[in-house]
């Protein structure tokens, strides 16, 4: 009887959802082709050691998604809706970053200003666009998806406009680090950036009341107001934080290719970010949130993408597979199904116990 309860408890843990998906994919790959897990140490063109293999690719490409998932989780928790302008915002932030790095000359050999300055400027710009979304949602009470539709539609044009529709190309190799490797360290830099963002997030949640305030507002706005909180301001804050995450993701994305293509950079990434939040077991209607689960969700999505690429699934069919994941997710995250699975385990254990008792 006790064991059954434990199973039920385990199955009700939020982190179980992405973890189960993760294990499922891991086992599938192990059975289908164990070479999936092969990691080799090689040297890149600069002569520095780098690790390569599918797992490394997942850590690498899943990182910007994980960063976005953090911001998206906060926005979801506070406003009970999602920001669908993330991809367009990455285009804007990335465009701003390259504009600062290259200056007016799109082919300049030298950096126009230190990378850190350009990055901070792009971060401010992304935060301002986040604040714009946040104000629409919090003060004008527009549904988040509708409010962010504005930037979703206009964002990529704004990005093109920032650079007069030219395609700036960075030639300075020091910019390649953020989407590549730090000389001497064989693990991709994006993963380290993601870890840094995670640590900062953890510190913020530990040393501020952000978590408590955001959850209160998301669960019961009226009651939060009566407890002295300012729900509008907090909602705007979460959108600004998402903007910061966006600028970090834009840094990685533009660094990978050293250039930007406004119409396709980070295309559809908002859907993956939202999916990561959902896969993390967070209620898309807001309230309580679990950031580690969202991060794991993001890496699981990249795991899925990489697996599909490995099996040579046509990349325009990827979204169909993701849709299947969404369906499974919706079914398995519902209280009743999880309770039922927990119950099933309980039953099996009980039957076993019964048999043992008999014999």
């Amino acid at each position: 009887m006790k064991t059954g309860n434990i199973f039920q408890k385990i199955f009700r843990r939020q982190i179980m959802i992405p973890l189960a998906a993760f294990l499922l994919l891991a086992i599938f790959n192990l059975v289908a082709d164990p070479s999936f897990y092969k990691i080799t140490l090689g040297y890149n063109s600069a002569g520095n050691p780098v690790l390569s293999g599918y797992l490394i690719t997942i850590l690498d490409y899943g990182s910007e998604l994980a960063i976005l998932a953090i911001g998206m989780t906060l926005v979801t928790a506070a406003s009970g809706g999602q920001d669908i302008s993330v991809g367009a915002a990455i285009a804007i932030s990335g465009s701003m970053l390259l504009r600062c790095l290259c200056g007016a000359d799109t082919r300049s050999e030298n950096l126009n200003m230190p990378i850190i300055c350009a990055f901070l400027i792009s971060m401010v710009v992304a935060s301002l666009f986040g604040a714009f979304n946040g104000v629409l949602v919090a003060y004008f009470k527009i549904q988040p998806m509708v409010a962010t539709l504005i930037l979703f539609t206009a964002g990529r044009s704004i990005a093109a406009w920032i650079n007069n529709n030219e395609l700036p190309i960075v030639n300075d190799q020091s910019f390649a680090i953020y989407g590549g490797f730090i000389p001497g360290i064989p693990i991709p830099m994006p993963f380290f950036i993601a870890v840094i963002v995670m640590i900062i997030t953890w510190l913020i949640l530990k040393f501020t009341n952000l978590g408590l305030y955001v959850q209160s507002v998301g669960i019961n706005e009226k009651s939060s107001r009566l407890n002295g909180l300012n729900p509008e301001l907090l909602k705007v804050l979460t959108f600004v934080l998402l903007g910061v995450c966006v600028s970090v993701a834009a840094l990685i994305k533009t660094s990978r290719l050293m250039t930007i293509n406004y119409s396709v950079i980070a295309k559809d990434i908002e859907m993956d970010a939202i999916l990561a939040v959902a896969l993390g077991g967070n209620a898309l209607s807001g309230g309580k949130f679990n950031i580690p689960a969202s991060i794991l969700g993001a890496y699981v999505i990249q795991f899925l993408t990489t697996t599909l690429y490995k099996f040579n699934v046509s990349s325009d069919a990827l979204s169909a597979y993701k849709a299947v994941v969404v369906i499974l997710l919706v079914v398995f995250s519902s209280e009743s199904v999880r309770g039922w699975i927990g119950g099933l385990f309980k039953k099996t254990v009980a039957v076993k116990a019964g048999k043992e008792a008999k014999s």
């Binding site: 070479s35 092969k38 090689g42 040297y43 890149n44 063109s45 780098v50 390569s52 293999g53 599918y54 490394i56 690719t57 490409y61 082919r107 093109a160 529709n165 395609l167 190309i169 590549g180 490797f181 994305k253 990978r256 290719l257 050293m258 250039t259 293509n261 396709v264 950079i265 980070a266 295309k267 993408t305 990489t306 690429y309 490995k310 040579n312 046509s314 990349s315 325009d316």
Partner: protein, 324 residues
């Protein structure tokens, strides 16, 4: 009557750009200029289109004896409205890069009745050939053939190709894929390591190549159907320390001849770039001259000369002249 004036006024407002070359509403007989109305897609659509628009503007100006009006839209119905407006304005030539292949019959008939010559450029339409005087287009299949022939000429003992395709079903994708597919089917020493669409997207191309590298499969050619995707592929190669370019392990091929891509050729990082010629204006100019002289063009469909650039022979001048 009032309504009609209003309609004309509205059409006028909708014209995004009225060429600055012409001296106003003066007729051809008055100042000897040939009036052309040019309907094109939005120049911001791509680098190709920007170059295309620039080229047209450079050719059709007063210095060359033209009075040109430009109208841009990515929507077929708006383009048709512009065409009607140009017909009413009494242009001598209507130059058209149609957004969509269908729906042009009636408006082109009007043009014909009004004695206006129609010249299609860049894109063909589904209409009776008698409705237009000439059509100046790229032959995507030929672009593919040129590229594959070039590759054949490299004399590798084995061709293991990563084929990165554009948006499936687009004319460029079909033409450029067809030539490679035919060659792979015909010759046993040609293999496709992977054939995947990256939808013209550099990031996706990077992931596709990354996936092949992770799998450990060997390859020696990257055939990317545009420059952006070739760039993404090269980023993945760089990361894994796989050498590419002239005399290196992997041959890199792209299309469209972006200036930055040709520079990659010039610095020997890539091997080949196939042109998709946006410079139709000289052909159009020639057709107009022929018609003005009283004869009609020898062929209705004129296929433009399109080059393929080889990194070992490209010059800095080529980059300047052909880069878009």
């Amino acid at each position: 009557m009032k309504k009609r004036i209003l309609a004309v006024l509205m059409a006028l407002v909708m014209v995004l750009c009225v060429a600055g070359c012409g001296g106003g509403g003066a007729a051809k007989k008055g100042n000897g200029l040939i009036k052309v109305g040019i309907i094109n897609n939005d120049p911001n659509e791509s680098g190709y289109r920007t170059a295309n628009d620039k080229d047209l503007k450079a050719t059709f100006c007063e210095a060359n004896g033209y009075e040109a009006s430009f109208a841009y839209s990515l929507k077929n119905d708006e383009q048709i409205t512009y065409a009607q407006k140009f017909i009413q304005d009494g242009v001598d030539y209507l130059l058209l890069s149609a957004a969509d292949t269908a729906g042009w019959d009636s408006v082109l008939k009007d043009a014909k009745d009004a004695g206006i010559h129609v010249i299609l450029f860049d894109r063909t339409i589904d209409a009776d050939p008698s409705l237009y005087d000439a059509s100046i287009v790229s032959d995507m299949a030929k672009e593919g053939d040129t590229a594959v022939n070039w590759l054949k000429g490299q004399g590798l003992s084995e061709y293991n190709v990563i084929h990165i395709q554009g948006v499936m079903g687009s004319a460029a994708q079909k033409g450029r894929t067809g030539a490679l597919d035919a060659q792979v089917a015909a010759d046993a020493s040609w293999n496709l390591v992977t054939q995947q669409t990256a939808e013209w997207n550099a990031e996706k191309a990077q992931q596709i190549v990354q996936s092949v590298i992770d799998s450990g499969a060997s390859f020696n050619v990257i055939y990317a159907e545009n420059d952006d995707m070739a760039k993404g592929a090269v980023a993945a190669l760089d990361k894994a320390n796989i050498s590419h370019g002239v005399g290196k392990d992997v041959i890199v091929m792209g299309f469209d001849c972006n200036k930055w891509a040709l520079q990659e050729l010039l610095s020997q990082n890539w091997n080949y770039d196939g042109q998709c010629n946006p410079f139709q204006s000289s052909y159009i100019d020639e057709v107009i001259k022929t018609i003005e002289s009283g004869s009609s063009p020898a062929q209705k469909t004129i296929i433009m000369d399109e080059k393929g650039f080889d990194a070992s022979t490209i010059t800095a001048e080529d980059v300047e002249n052909y880069g878009i």
